[in-house]
Amino acid sequence: MANHRADEKRFLDERGSGGPLAPNGLNPATIMEKPVRERIIDCYFWKDQCFALNEADIVDRVVVHVKFIGGTYGDAQRPSPFLCLAFKLLQLGPSDDILREYLDFGGEKFKYLRALACFYIRLTRQAKNVYNLLEPYLEDRRKLKRKTRMGTALTFIDQFVDDLLTKERVCATTLWKMPKREILEDLEVLEPRISPLGDIEDLLESDVEEMDGKGRDK
């Protein structure tokens, strides 16, 4: 299929009626909760900026309009542009090739594009791929602004990725229950993760040394 529908009508009509499923088996139209979906398609940003977009236009929209991550924010629980564009991705269903461009080539340049791709991958990909695609960015310490109902806070890409891998709810969305890393290691689906900091035993040792006041100059 070379075209997308410009609006969301068919996407939403396909709810539960055999539209294409995401790679993790979920129906993309119902991954976000109903009240959130309704807030999104009602909001001005969605109507004005998310109509007739394709996978490349997503890049422009993120760069121009995504200044923070978050689900719904403020007293009005307004859906963030970040959340609206995640919903648009659920509608577009971009391929893995495209996601790699968002994550890597685009993600180096635009941190909010990387954050958006990480969020979308967590919602739609199988556990093994989620871990493999997201974990490299536990090394990305760039700052992200995050808005919630409570206000604005600072977070980081690595922290956001960690939230996606370990928390149940992120950005107004209940994440599907993914098997824990150690379970997938036991099943030999995943190799143990190697931290960019190196071997754990060495680290613990060097920490002890630092505490002893010997420092790193040994």
Partner: protein
């Protein structure tokens, strides 16, 4: 509205390939770099100009 012209009568929009996505990333990055140097218009205005 300008996007109505872009999608024509069919209500459909053409999918982008991975290489088109990469080109877009490059283009947006360059536009942003230019803006940093010139600081004349906002990126939003620039992208609008390019879309027409």
């Amino acid at each position: 509205m300008q996007h109505l012209r872009a999608i024509g009568q069919t209500g459909e929009v053409q999918r982008a390939t991975a290489s088109e996505v990469r080109e877009r990333i490059e283009r947006v990055w360059e536009a942003l770099e230019e803006e940093r140097q010139q600081d004349v218009k906002s990126l939003g205005e620039r992208l609008k100009v390019r879309q027409v």
